[in-house]
């Protein structure tokens, strides 16, 4: 077997191992989006309708965030195999992660094709695809979102496939048809795709238009196909006034933004003082513009990219999104790429993807956001890999001691970083992250099912951090969807909304609930003092998560 193929297989195995081993156990529990996707898939499987009674939805209303539903459809066949479980919910993303690594290899190869001749071209051509896909295989950023149900990861896979096919279609236009299908699929998979895919397709057309020497039937067909397939999605999105609710909920154009609040005061003063400059310069369009640019640029903050953070939904403790050792190499890689022998189109494509990625996220409040800019990968890995190869080639020309010293330092640092990541992710993460991953519902539901026959009413708190407790119960009890819909299904998805079906109620616990025939489940603070505690489920670091009690009047 050729060396390239052998190494490539190793990389795939590594990618698969890191994404499938202990899938469902790390992170330790499903978060609210995951249970929603899982239960809605179960519901559609059994009844053809989602929790709201909508038949075969394109958009899942869920928590009034109207998620694109494709990921849910991917879960459905897996429920037949694995039951309604963590594995079934997370497997599509894990598979998309491995496929993404494979696609990265071929995509990088394709991007190398137009290189100019130069001395080290062969070494780069041989090793860049392998190294890039390897870096993606071990990338904390990519692994994090491959091991839980993140639609962004599936959308990334489609995007990479689409770009690869489009590049291949330059030589054989047949590839354009699947490319069109895959690009339009991203709209049905992930929220930000409506901005990013559209811009990306625009970029691709602008860059590669001239390569379409003849406008043949296939090119026209694929263009039409792309548009036709996308129409239903946009139709549903734009005709539903609430579908863009999520976008409004996180937008940055609100009065809570300090710069904006300041500008309102300034304009008022400027009117009083008849200060024309004050009125013009603090105009809200300028202010919003600055905020958007701020959101955009925040995704290039080196601390956020390379250093450990505390947002444990998005990263394991003690690790950044990218490895620390990658930082110097990525910088070198940027230089090498800008001035390297790659074709101008390749350079514009790679930097174009990086430049377009943060646009969707920049109009939101919670920036920087690692999921919304997932399409940075694997371009960052590409630049890092190029930087690594550049440095290694440079070291190769130096004096022997310097050379081997250099190699050793690189290997040691990389090895240390990766070892730290593996320990932090597979051992430390659950201890620190169980709160943020909403641990406790599985155990609580099992206990409730044991006890529920003894009670007339069962009341679950839905106060933070137990919001949307109803969905967790539905999922872990595998509540029959037919019955659920007959009982009315979900009526509204907002955060503070109460839910009720059968003898279950999901709302803040009140003193009136403190009765012997009512089972209470909630945070320690929710349970009335005189209630009788039956069971306490703790987070993995020892603090109480969910308390089960019954009333005692």
């Amino acid at each position: 077997m050729k060396k390239q193929t052998f190494l490539f297989l190793i990389i795939i195995i590594v990618a698969a191992l890191l994404r499938f081993w202990q899938l469902g156990k790390v992170p330790v529990s499903l978060n609210w989006d995951e249970v929603a996707l899982g239960y809605n898939a179960y519901s559609v499987m059994q009844t053809g309708k989602d929790e709201f009674g909508q038949s075969f939805p394109i958009l899942l209303r869920s928590y009034d965030d109207y998620k694109p539903a494709f990921y849910m459809y991917l879960i459905m066949p897996l429920i037949s195999l694995f039951g309604l479980s963590e594995v079934a919910v997370r497997l599509p993303s894990a598979m998309a992660g491995v496929v993404g690594v494979v696609l990265t290899y071929f995509l990088t190869k394709e991007l190398m094709k137009d290189q100019r001749e130069r001395k080290d071209k062969k070494k780069i051509t041989n090793y860049l695809p392998l190294l890039t896909s390897f870096l993606l295989a071990i990338s904390p950023w990519h692994i994090q979102f491959s091991r839980a149900a993140f639609e962004a990861n599936v959308s990334l896979m489609f995007t990479l496939a689409g770009i690869l096919l489009l590049l291949k279609s330059i030589r054989n236009s047949f590839y354009l048809i699947p490319a069109a299908i895959l690009f339009s699929l991203t709209y049905y998979t992930y929220q930000s795709a409506k901005v990013f895919t559209t811009l990306l397709v625009g970029l691709l057309i602008v860059l590669y238009w001239k390569d379409r020497i003849k406008i043949d039937r296939i090119r026209i067909v694929s263009g039409l196909l792309f548009i036709l397939l996308s129409v239903p999605f946009f139709w549903v999105t734009l005709t539903n006034p609430d579908a863009l609710l999520r976008a409004k909920g996180v937008s940055v154009f609100t009065e809570e933004n300090p710069r904006y609040a300041k500008s309102i005061v300034r304009i008022a003063e400027s009117y009083e003082q008849k200060d024309v400059f004050g009125i013009v310069l603090n105009n809200r369009r300028i202010v919003h513009g600055i905020n958007v640019v701020n959101g955009y640029l925040s995704h290039f903050n080196p601390e956020w990219l390379f250093l450990p953070g505390t947002q444990y939904r998005f990263q394991a403790p003690g690790t950044g999104l990218l490895y620390l050792f990658e930082m110097p190499f990525m910088l070198v890689g940027i230089y090498s790429f800008v001035f390297g022998p790659f074709s101008r189109k390749t350079k514009l494509l790679v930097f174009g993807i990086i430049a377009l990625t943060p646009i969707a996220a920049s109009i939101t409040r919670d920036v920087p956001h690692p999921i919304r800019v997932l399409t940075f990968l694997p371009m960052f890995q590409l630049l890092t890999a190029l930087g690594l190869i550049t440095i290694i080639l440079w070291l190769g020309k130096r004096h022997m001691i310097f050379r081997w010293g250099g190699y050793m330092i690189i290997v040691l640092l990389a090895f240390l970083n990766v070892a730290q990541y593996l320990d932090n992710y597979f051992i430390q993460y659950n201890r620190i992250g169980s709160t943020v991953w909403q641990y406790g519902y599985k155990e609580a539901t099992a206990k409730v099912k044991e006890l529920e026959n003894k009670y007339d009413k069962i009341v679950f708190s839905n106060i933070e951090p137990l919001e949307q407790s109803y969905m967790f119960y539905l999922f872990y009890s595998q509540y029959d969807p037919k019955t659920y819909l007959e009982q009315g299904g979900t009526v509204s998805g907002g955060f503070a909304e109460p839910h009720a079906f059968g003898k279950y109620e999901f709302r803040p616990i009140t003193p009136e609930d403190n009765k012997q025939n009512i089972l209470l489940i909630g945070r320690p603070a929710d349970i009335p003092e005189t209630a009788r505690q039956i069971n306490i489920i703790e987070y993995l670091e020892g603090t109480p998560a969910i308390v089960i009690a019954d009333g005692n009047s």
Partner: protein, 580 residues
Amino acid sequence: MGKKKIFLFVIFVVAVVLRFYRIDSIPPSLTWDEAAWGYNAYSLGMDGRDEFGRFLPIDYLESFGDYKPPLYAYLTVLPVKLFGLNEFAVRFPSALFGSLTVLVTYFLVKEIFFRQKEDKKEKMDKKTDTILNYTPLVTTGLLAISPWHINLSRAAFEANIASLFIITGIWLFLYSLRTKSWLLVVSSISFVLSLYTFNTARIVVPLLGTILMAAFFKKLWNMKQIVVTAGIVVVIMSIPVVRFMLTPQAQLRYQEVNIFSDLSIVKDANTSMQTDYNILHDKGYCPECDPVSQKEIPFWSRIIHNRRYRYAIEFIRHYVHHFRPSFLFIQGDGNPKFSTQDVGQFYLWSAPFLILGLLYLIREKRGFWWFVPLWLLIGIIPAATARETPHALRIETTLPTWQILTAYGVLTALLFIKQHIRSAFLKKSAYSILTLVLALNVLYYLHGYYVFYPKEYSEHWQYGYKEAITYAQSEYENYDAIVVTTELGRPYIYALFYTRFSPIKFRSTAQIEREVYGFVHVNQFDKFYFTNDTHTTARKFKHPLVIDVPNNVPDKVPVIKTFNLLSGEPALVSYTYTLL
């Protein structure tokens, strides 16, 4: 050459105007450090002693117990004598040195990119020549309008003085190396003076100096006589400051602010190692388990969670804070004294040019190009060991490297437009848009600075003390004591400053309390009493005037006068009670 000199002159005038215009009222009032500089200069000007009576101190000014490097005070002696003890005099040296920095930068950049005719490495590249021809001028222009530099030149910041000394030092170093001149001694003196001006310089200058000496060793070897003389001068001049740096007072100040005293890092490392142990021994996460000793922890866990590695990470974290995009281009330093919060340390306009300039500077490798990024990287090191990062003041010594890179990028871009865009219309549009955006950026900053900034942030400049003290002094005869609260910090220096109190009288009558190696508290001088418990102190007198914070006024006591911030909110109030 004439055209360039005219531009340089215009740029200098612009720099002077931007730094001096209404410097007495914007920023709106003096910080306590500024008041301390002023009063010590006043005192030094009278009898050569600082406020506490030390004669001609050259190693430090005790001040509030922060042991300031003293040079700024000496520079302020003459302005105070000429202009009086006021805001203008106190800020004059900073504005003057800031303006001179702009001028010296021109010559510095010329030296950095000076093309030696014999230098074989310099290929005749017309395009780069054009860029290099104008880089000094554009750099100077950018520095003149730099929000970072303007903010720091308009208040008494020692860092600003140190910047001029360092920039002059580097300029004269490169110049004297090229011309084998005795100005090398002046360069060394300039470097040493910076050590007496600003704490951070004490780390940056030795580092920069070492690199310069190492990189130019050959040339220096051919100037042995001059080098040795300079060396002797440096050693002699450095003795006082080195002696001081070895004392416990100096160490203490550093202890307060550095990141290596954070113990939570050690705690996290230990918890992680315990977890590794527990999981390995099938105990699960076991929050209730007792911790085991270090020896039982597996070696790989001890390497992975090594605390020194974690401290190194924290250093890197504080280091890269200075490259946070919102710090550089959007908001600037979070401290309103260093940034108006409207714009970043640089104009947003300059962001693409900064990156472009860095890439092309490295690519084309002209002159002493390598020194520019190296200087920048070194200048950030001292700030990275402190907790408050990013810190615009502590890294001011990296100016003007950023401007050099930006200028290089601007010229590269302009040249690209000139050479590669055929259509005259598109060319003109591109130039116009670039100019317009820059103009808007600058206007947004300047307008915000002069019109809104004082009102929005007067609190951070300790506004209110001047009005309160001036009022107290006008009522001096009517009360037997003036009790001032210490809630807003260090009121005594404002009392001294705004009453122009005689330093000689102050030294002999003041009641001062000194913590061991720590802060200095002036509790009383003359009729002024400074305390955090105004009520108790006031009750010792028959007829006290109390200057207090608004929410500490006792019940049923009427407020005589309120001293408001420029935003309208009350900062201080005055009241009295007559004990019957």
